[in-house]
């Protein structure tokens, strides 16, 4: 019977373990310095080498090689017995199927006996988080006072489910996801052992699909190898994994950002018709968009993005705002989750595309509108990105002078407009002192506390306030905050200036307000 790759080429020495040098080096040092602990906890995602390292430790502590740094030697009778699975002092317990307190009691009864062949009895308890509370308590007693000849290695993928008392009695090692580059090297090694050639892009795809779990990558490689003999190609790998090429994802994102629904739907249709799994397609799109997000926010291409995609990522990052990108990632992510079943598995993706394009079209038609107002369901906790300064016209540049009375007469409408955009700003405006004065095209708002003034003048909040004022006044104005008691108008009113013509304008404004807002009628006009 053929053995699967990950079992056939399981590491036999510490230096063959990939991507966990912080663990293997420490264990080897402990061995050389005679500082081996009596209980270890290996925590980390699946397929990252926990059980493999535990077996290597069992081999190393019992190995007969005289040179400590050379352990495990894989030549002595102990190493050979462990490699062949016939070493009596290595006891592997699957906690997932031995969860009860009786199983641990059974272990405690036997642990007192001296080792049969080696120096130490090594107990590897896999998936230890599956033990019951009573079983953990029983285990804790043993961990507190273990016999000198026993070493425990507890392995888990869910360390948060293990009681703190147990964690604190063990020497804990956290296993990490393995970087794509390291996985590719390992896959290349395996293929060299097997005498098979592969296209680098195919291995890159397999490594990415494994999301940091080497065992998954080796299993996927096994799958690809068993589907077709000879050279491993990208096309064959894509067919087996149900994925699409990077160019398909780029086409899809291009279609979205160019607001070309037809092209996007065609891309999706072609991908699905050629055998791609819609769920995979959704995930790949989300992964790609995450790359764009990192580039946009972090300014650098993530280390696991293929070089071939860097220019596309950069191009797309320039075409989209952070807010729109976040909403797009959410839509495609939800579509990928929804694509698991259903009679039209690609439908959620198609809808995600159409919705994203609609949003883009809506935004381009109303550039001054804030993104959250444009987004469907924007009030349900979706992203509320700050308006980008470049996206809105400069308020002061397009302004015409307004008066205090004008602003005050529209105060209610203004608060309502602000509340629609962000209720927090409205609440803070209510706690302020209202309008203190007008300085050209700038409205001066009064706030007693410096903290409030700072907050109001932050880019994000200022944009919302200015937009709301522009909506209700019909002209763009800027804002400034001042302390009410310290405020002195910068320009004293003069009769020849619009701002100073307050009396006349006030009357007009009051009239307009009475007619429009209060349904009053003008019955008589005076000079």
């Amino acid at each position: 019977m053929t053995q699967v790759l990950y079992r056939k080429w399981r590491p036999t020495t510490f230096d063959q373990v990939v991507g966990q040098e912080h663990v293997t080096e420490t264990l080897l040092s402990a061995l050389v310095l005679g500082r081996v602990a009596h209980a270890y906890l290996f925590a980390g995602p699946r397929g990252t080498g926990k059980t493999t390292t535990a077996r290597l430790l069992a081999k190393a502590v019992n190995c007969l090689e005289e040179e400590l740094a050379g352990r495990p030697c894989n030549r002595c009778r102990i190493c050979r017995a462990i490699n062949e699975g016939r070493f009596l002092d290595l006891i592997e317990i699957d906690a997932a199927s031995n969860t009860g307190v009786d199983d641990v009691r059974d272990l405690r009864e036997k642990i007192g006996f001296s080792p049969n062949e080696g120096r130490y009895k090594v107990y590897i308890v896999d998936e230890v988080h599956m033990l019951s509370t009573a079983a953990f308590n029983a285990l804790l007693k043993t961990l507190e006072e273990p016999p000198r000849h026993a070493i425990f290695v507890l392995a888990t993928t869910e360390v948060n489910k293990i009681p703190a008392t147990v964690i604190s009695r063990c020497q804990r090692f956290d296993f990490r996801r393995i970087p794509v580059v390291r996985m590719i090297s390992r896959l290349e090694e395996l293929l060299a052992h097997e005498g098979v050639e592969a296209e680098p892009a195919a291995l890159d795809l397999i490594a990415r699909q494994a999301t940091g779990a080497l065992r998954d990558a080796e299993s996927l490689l096994d799958q690809v190898l068993s589907s077709q003999a000879g050279r491993v190609t990208l096309q064959q790998t894509q067919a087996v994994l149900g994925t699409v090429g990077a160019e398909t994802i780029c086409e899809l994102v291009d279609a979205w950002l160019n607001a070309d629904v037809a092209a996007g739907l065609l891309t999706l249709q072609k991908a699905v018709n050629s055998g791609s799994d819609p769920q995979q397609l959704g995930r790949q799109t989300v992964d790609y968009l995450r790359g764009v997000l990192y580039l946009k926010t972090g300014g650098q291409v993530p280390s696991d993005v293929p070089e071939a995609l860097e220019s596309d990522l950069g191009r797309h990052a320039e075409l989209i705002g952070v807010g729109e990108l976040i909403r797009g990632i959410r839509r495609f992510g939800a579509a990928a989750a929804e694509s698991r079943g259903g009679w039209q598995p690609q439908l959620p993706l198609e809808l995600a595309l159409v919705e994203s394009v609609s949003e883009r079209l809506a935004e381009s038609a109303e550039p001054a509108k804030t993104p959250e107002a444009a987004a469907p369901g924007g009030s349900t906790g979706e992203a509320r990105p700050k308006p980008m300064p470049s996206e809105r016209p400069s308020a002061v540049q397009q302004a015409r002078p307004v008066t205090v009375a004008q602003v005050e007469s529209q105060w209610g409408a203004f608060l309502a407009a602000v509340k629609q955009r962000d209720f927090r700003i409205e609440a803070m405006l209510r706690s302020g002192q209202g309008v203190l004065g007008i300085e050209g095209a700038t409205v001066v708002l009064g706030f007693k506390y410096a903290l409030h003034r700072e907050k109001m003048e932050s880019d994000e909040w200022r944009c919302v306030i200015e937009d709301s004022l522009a909506d209700v006044l019909g002209t763009a104005v800027g804002i400034r905050c001042a302390e009410p008691e310290a405020y002195r108008p910068v320009q004293p009113a003069r009769p020849d200036e619009p701002a100073g013509d307050a009396g006349a304008l006030d009357v007009e404004e009051i009239k307009r307000f009475a007619v429009e807002e209060l349904n009053a009628q003008v019955t008589e006009t005076g000079a």
Binding site: V32, Q171, R172, L293, G298, I329, G333
Partner: protein
Amino acid sequence: MAEAPRFYVFHGENAFAQGKTLGDLKRRLGDDPAMVSLNTMAFDGRTVSLAELEHACCTLPFLSNRRLVVVRGLIERLNEPGNRQDRDRILAFLPQLPASTRLILQEPHALPDGNPFVRLAASSPLGLARKFDLPDGRALVQWIRLQVASQGGCIEPDAIALLVLGIGNDLYLLENEIDKLLSYTRLTRPIRAADIRLLTASGVQAGVFDLVDAVGQRLESKATTLLRSLLEAGEEPLRLSGMITRQFRLLIQVRERLDMRFLPDEIGPDLGLKPYPTGKLVQQASSFTLKRLEDIYRRLLDNDLAIKTGNTQPIVALELLVVELCSR
């Protein structure tokens, strides 16, 4: 020469030091673990009968000149109302212990000085009472330094700060982490902060702290880079999400108290936090208003729901969360 104590009252939260002291007493019984085991009896004080205990104490040692009897939680049980008669019986029995017996009464919590067992152990020439407090603040720093030095190593102050921040005074965990770090450095150089970040869970805690700092200052680029490094280091997104939530929960509590004019020194005891992490939290809370923290907390709830209802992959949800928090 004064006679060695026959009964000991060990009390206090420092289970680690209690365990070590008990270990020393056990070692005095002899080198052979089998013989030590034969002459040691341990009881759960909540369930042991007094007759059983007295019998164990009066039994002669086997091929040894001493016998150890350890009882955990007996004093707490005898202090309960209605157990006065039992308590008096044991108090009367203690001074009559055979010379070959060492009885250790262990209590996980500190007992008041007026406790009759503590008084008897302190006043009787045959008794010894010892209180084991958990080290805190400077005492904890000193404890770490001594623990490292006792094994032939040394540790830099930054590294101590990270250990204290991440682990606090869980001495068992600290001992294991120090052992691991000393193995990693091979005792050839001091333990550095970078080693803590690489090898210990408190490194992750420090990473989360830095991440929240970056969010507070709206440093989007730094925050996303930190998040990515935590994820690439293999940190589980759900756990990370929980740690970020915890950090903001603490910040809300601290911010509230700062706004209520609490002094920084008063905040730690009020929230049950240790001085060092409290100091860091007070510092961090200055970057946030209570309103912003509440807003972020609501966003964290949305994020949690999105993950747990399967709408968003955990990693993606975290990334979006960090970007949003920085831009809000």
